[in-house]
Symmetry: C2
Subunit: 342 residues, 2 copies
């Protein structure tokens, strides 16, 4: 997207936030449901239809450490399916114990967000999946290595052929990402808040509803809205030294601009913010009030909002631990070496 478009977008969103507060107060009286949307069953992508076989293949790839140079790191290492889809570290560990620059966003419900990564540099989970595999400080592989590894394994060759029928080269790097993306499109976690949005009034406690109202009336909803309760826009957040989207676009308007994270399962995805510097959810709420809304939220308001946020912890999909197919004598071997200077 062109930088001029972003300036306009930023302007429109600022206006929206500015006017959101008064509009929202009355909406909150009606339960404020209009700002949000319940999760779908699957986050469909017309360009990458979700099929059972594709999801199964994607899950194997998601868990397969052979997608990394070392053979030790998988997608699941940092986006752990047992810990809210994150690693609960301030910033992630990669190849050679490289400590990355940013906190790992959760894989759960990532597929419903409008952009991926903290700087929004990928448009969907398919595009996102391609990044960390090749990042020298994360999985440190190359496309060539990944394809050589996977093509050396008959079960993978067969699965790609079945999942992407009629394609000339079904086992391509694009399709690795498509399969992982399809798996991630099933990783949705409906919560009590979704039940509430769908009309079950008692799904939230009165405290959680009060928190929801405060969340709306104070203006949090200006950015944390929609199906992801976040993830639909990029916003300036002047916190720490990270220059955010500016690092990608080198456009001044993008300085310290970050994708608004989803708040679904936020209780599980500590520590908070792009640098993972804040461990307490209440503290994160206070900082957001101060920095983004210019408000000093009262202790009770913070407690109520936090109670609402905990109602966004969803039902995790039930998954069986799979067995990965075996390497063969043609499979390029793990390489744990750390290149000089990295």
């Amino acid at each position: 997207m062109k930088s001029s478009v972003y300036i306009v977008l930023t302007f429109i969103l600022s206006v929206f936030v500015f006017f959101a507060v008064p509009v929202v107060v009355s909406a909150a009286e009606g339960g404020g449901k209009g700002y949000f949307k319940a999760l779908p069953q699957i986050a469909e992508n017309p360009e990458n239809p979700v099929t059972k076989d594709k999801v199964e293949l994607g899950m194997l790839l998601y868990l397969d450490p052979r997608l990394s140079k070392s053979g030790f790191i998988s997608c699941n290492s940092c986006h752990n399916l047992s810990t809210g889809g994150v690693d609960n570290l301030p910033t992630s560990i990669g190849h050679g114990w490289h400590i990355g620059p940013r906190n790992a966003p959760t894989v759960f419900n990532a597929a419903v967000l409008k952009t991926q990564f903290w700087d929004g540099r990928a448009k969907d989970v398919e595009e996102q999946a391609k990044g960390p595999i090749l990042n020298p400080g994360e999985m440190a592989a190359t496309e060539e290595l990944v394809l050589k590894r996977l093509r050396s394994i008959p079960e993978y060759r067969k699965a790609f052929k079945k999942v992407f029928p009629g394609e000339k080269k079904p086992l391509s790097y694009d399709n690795v990402a498509n399969a992982i993306g399809a798996f991630e499109r099933t990783l949705l976690t409906p919560s009590r808040f979704d039940k509430y949005l769908l009309g079950e009034e008692d799904a939230l406690t009165s405290r959680e509803k009060r928190g929801l109202n405060t969340f709306i009336s104070k203006g949090c909803v200006g950015c944390h809205n929609g199906v992801g309760i976040g993830g639909a826009s990029l916003q300036r957040f002047d916190y720490g030294t990270d220059q955010g989207r500016f690092e990608v676009t080198k456009n001044e308007a993008d300085r310290k601009v970050f994708r608004v994270p989803t708040l679904r399962n936020v209780e599980l995805t500590y520590p908070y913010f792009h640098d993972g510097s804040v461990w307490s959810l209440k503290e994160a709420v206070m900082i957001m009030g101060e920095k983004q809304l210019g408000l000093k939220l009262k202790k009770k308001e913070v407690a109520d909002i936090t109670a609402f946020l905990k109602a966004l912890s969803g039902q995790m999909p039930e998954m069986t631990i799979p067995q990965l197919p075996l390497s063969t004598r043609h499979t390029p071997r793990p390489d744990v070496s750390i290149e000089a200077g990295k």
Copy 2:
């Protein structure tokens, strides 16, 4: 165990190997079943009874990276339940990207083996579980850190109390190991060979039976026998520079003495030997013939033995990916730092 006992043991075992070959040939004519034992349902330990709740708790702990200093490495990182209970690396990666000295043995069926670790320094899986957590080059934690982390999490406090009723301090380091051990006691993988041992003659193909006969008649069975098809004794293996059990006992008789590994799932647990230097199962069989039996096995013999070994790949237990309980504000935070000199 005293070193003198080991000298006697080594002597007895040498005699056993010496006499095993001729005895075995005739036994092979009867199917050779007497040398082996089918897997039990659960590998019971009277000192640590296996209960459903204990197994569930053990599985959480097995997968919990908070048992490591960094919060990044769990038991499962190197003994991966999706890849034959190993990491398929020559030697494992630990805290700070430390490359360990030995190949990670499989967790599957480890509980039926007589000793644990390549040098047999732990008597059972409970004792084994305590080692890597504290090893500075593996999970790099301390008992104190592990207990502080777990005691800060109400779900763990509750689970330990329930699983170890009547104990004064149920959440102890011993009980962490007991829970993990109990989980591992369920990780048994019955194979077609077990069906064969239990009387199902057709469970093995004629080639696999031929391989079994060769395995017995050539003397492999001298060490690879019993329920683990290995794991019941320690033997000298003069291969590479690793001094084996000598490193623990400093006893000359233990130089280059290693625990005989289980051959169950050997097809999955490449690369082979204590240093993970051999990737091909056939090559490993050839080397064992040469080094341990003084035989140059024929190509067909190696192929037949390998076919038999592949029949030892078992049925993996079906396990659901669990959700780990959340940290609290009292939970000691991850520490990814690498101490100077390590």
